[in-house]
């Protein structure tokens, strides 16, 4: 098997595609690239299938060495990248020769980078996807949900060097620095919790350090919650739940599929990619978006 050898696995690098679809009724979550926007551009740059396997690099530190001749592209966070001793840009393709070493520094803005290789990174599919979900022990190179490790091989084919391509700067990620305004499609129990919903939209929050691909916990003044008994029900991507202590949690790509806390609605999908680039400590506020507005915006953004 030829490809790229992992010399240093970095902080936390995961093989991802668009995620698992159609298996929620078995309790299997979606997984998949957290920032689908940057992931999509990485594959497009390499002329890959839109579901091809990429590496999601959290913060940085990854070093890989090529055994093949091919083309790669990196998108997402602002991060220093070197091919051998030369500093290179992201949001464009690079030709790679056997023996080339690609080293990532640490993100200076945003926190997730996507590395695509022409033809896609190959791995056996589990439930129709190679997405790594650590919590479920599914997917990835080992199929057991493990992050990249030293010595792993990112299997891919050799590819002829084609024309270089780049993404125009106006389409690069923009990173939120001040308070990020995140749009929420109101739904689920928001009518029964109208007082709490009002308070939620009027509050500034900070992303807690205790946040990951499963969910972002938010810190802020606690919302007073009545005692409530609820039967567990299906959880959509981006659902905002209020736990008994009155703190919101945004449930993300590795979320549990069912749960029994009240929810006020779900983060608009185009804003989930923005959340993926935010680190603990980032300030957030929320703005309601009606279902009509949300579906209209989605129609407009359709390829």
């Amino acid at each position: 098997m030829m490809g790229f050898e992992v010399i240093n696995p970095g902080m936390h690098c995961l093989l991802q595609d668009k995620g698992r679809v159609g298996y929620h009724s078995l309790g299997i979550t979606s997984g998949g690239a957290f920032d689908q926007y940057s992931f999509g551009w990485a594959n497009r740059l390499c002329l890959n299938d839109d579901n091809a396997g990429c590496i999601e690099i959290l913060i940085g530190g990854l070093i890989i060495e090529s055994q093949v001749s091919t083309q790669i592209a990196i998108t997402g966070a602002d991060i220093p990248i070197k091919i051998n001793d030369s500093t290179v840009e992201n949001w464009c393709t690079h030709n790679i020769q056997p023996g080339d070493k690609i080293s990532f520094g640490y993100a200076t803005a945003g926190c997730r980078s996507y590395l695509a290789i022409a033809g896609g990174i190959q791995a056996p599919l589990i439930f129709n996807s190679l997405s790594t979900v650590v919590r479920e022990g599914l997917g990835g190179l080992t199929q057991l949900g493990t992050p990249l490790e030293k010595g792993d091989i990112l299997t891919c084919s050799s590819n002829s060097h084609s024309t270089q391509r780049s993404v125009p700067a106006k389409y690069h990620c923009e990173f939120d620095t001040d308070i990020a305004e995140i749009r929420i499609v109101t739904g689920y129990q928001y009518e029964q919790f109208s007082q709490q919903t009002k308070q939620f939209f009027a509050t500034d929050y900070v992303i807690s350090p205790n946040s990951d691909r499963m969910g972002y916990r938010l810190e802020g003044p606690a919302i007073e919650m009545p005692r409530c008994e609820m039967l567990s029900e299906g959880i959509s991507l981006g659902a905002v739940q209020l736990t008994a202590d009155g703190m919101p949690i945004i449930l993300l790509c590795d979320r549990q599929t069912i749960g029994g806390y009240p929810k006020l609605g779900s983060v608009f999908s185009l804003d989930i990619a923005r959340l993926a680039q935010m680190m603990p400590g980032q300030k957030l506020c929320f703005k309601p978006l009606s279902i009509d507005q949300a579906q209209h915006l989605l129609q407009k953004s359709a390829p």
């Binding site: 679809v21 159609g22 298996y23 929620h24 009724s25 078995l26 309790g27 299997i28 589990i126 439930f127 479920e136 022990g137 599914l138 199929q143 499609v185 109101t186 739904g187 689920y188 039967l231 567990s232 029900e233 299906g234 959880i235 959509s236 991507l237 981006g238 659902a239 549990q256 599929t257 069912i258 749960g259 929810k263 609605g265 779900s266 608009f268 999908s269 279902i291 949300a294 579906q295 989605l298 129609q299 359709a302």
Partner: protein, 239 residues
């Protein structure tokens, strides 16, 4: 305030949740199974995923193809086709073996104390009920079953265990379940099931699905070992 069922509520830009009744019951479980199966046929690839649960069904769809009003109409038309007599798919009946013993179920004694019953009576009450598979979640293959006889209902442990073995049969309030893989857990452990409950690479992935009816059958330690039960899960793995 009375609510009219089915009640359909927006969950996100590409999903709506249908509530079928106030409380779960056999009729609701059957309506959920019927609606899920019929929507799969009606919507084909425009249906992204479905999450059935106790009294609800989350319908996730392709918003590039359907607006939320159109989906609501599809759901209402589907439910209107349901009748108690032409049930699409009766839940199958599944039986799973369990080795009930204090060495495999370290909380049997505390449930017996709590309910003022003997351990044998607790076991008898657990295996004489036919349970409904209400939902799957928490972990792949983890099935929420209900409802246990109220005499053996038992609140969750104050402090969850770090390590519950694969196959552990457990009770929390009036729910019961089997842990499909080793994991942390706060339910009360009463026995071990030697049958694998989740296979990523084999069909079917799980011996049961939402809507099925399940019974437990008490087996001996020898039978447990013959069916593939592991000595390890009996010895000191529970922490």
């Amino acid at each position: 305030m009375s609510i009219e069922y089915p009640k359909i509520v927006i969950a996100s830009e590409n999903s709506s949740i249908v509530y079928f009744s106030e409380r779960p019951c056999d009729r609701t479980s059957d309506q959920i199974s019927f609606t899920a199966n019929t929507l799969k046929d009606r919507l084909g690839l425009d249906l992204i995923d479905l999450i059935p649960s106790y009294h609800s069904l989350l319908v996730i769809y392709n918003p590039q193809r359907f607006g939320y009003q159109k989906i609501e109409q599809e759901i209402r038309d589907t439910i209107a086709q349901w009748t108690a007599s032409n049930q699409s798919r009766k839940g199958r009946k599944v039986e799973l073996p369990v080795y009930y013993n204090p060495e495999s179920g370290p909380d049997l004694q505390s449930i017996a104390d709590h309910s003022d019953l003997s351990i044998d009576e607790v076991i008898e009450l657990h295996q004489q009920t036919e349970y409904t598979v209400y939902a799957m979640g928490f972990a792949p293959g983890f099935a929420y079953l209900g409802e246990v006889d109220e005499r053996i209902a038992m609140p969750r442990l104050a402090t969850p265990r770090h390590n519950v073995p694969q196959g552990a049969v457990a009770i929390a309030d009036r729910q019961t379940a089997i842990y499909p893989s080793q994991s942390p857990g706060g339910w009360n452990l009463i026995g071990l099931c030697p049958i694998s409950l989740f296979n990523a690479d084999k069909q079917p992935h799980s011996p049961m699905q939402v809507g099925d009816k399940l019974r437990f059958k008490s087996i001996s330690r020898d039978e447990f070992m013959q069916l593939g039960g592991s000595e390890q899960s009996l010895l000191g793995e529970i922490t």
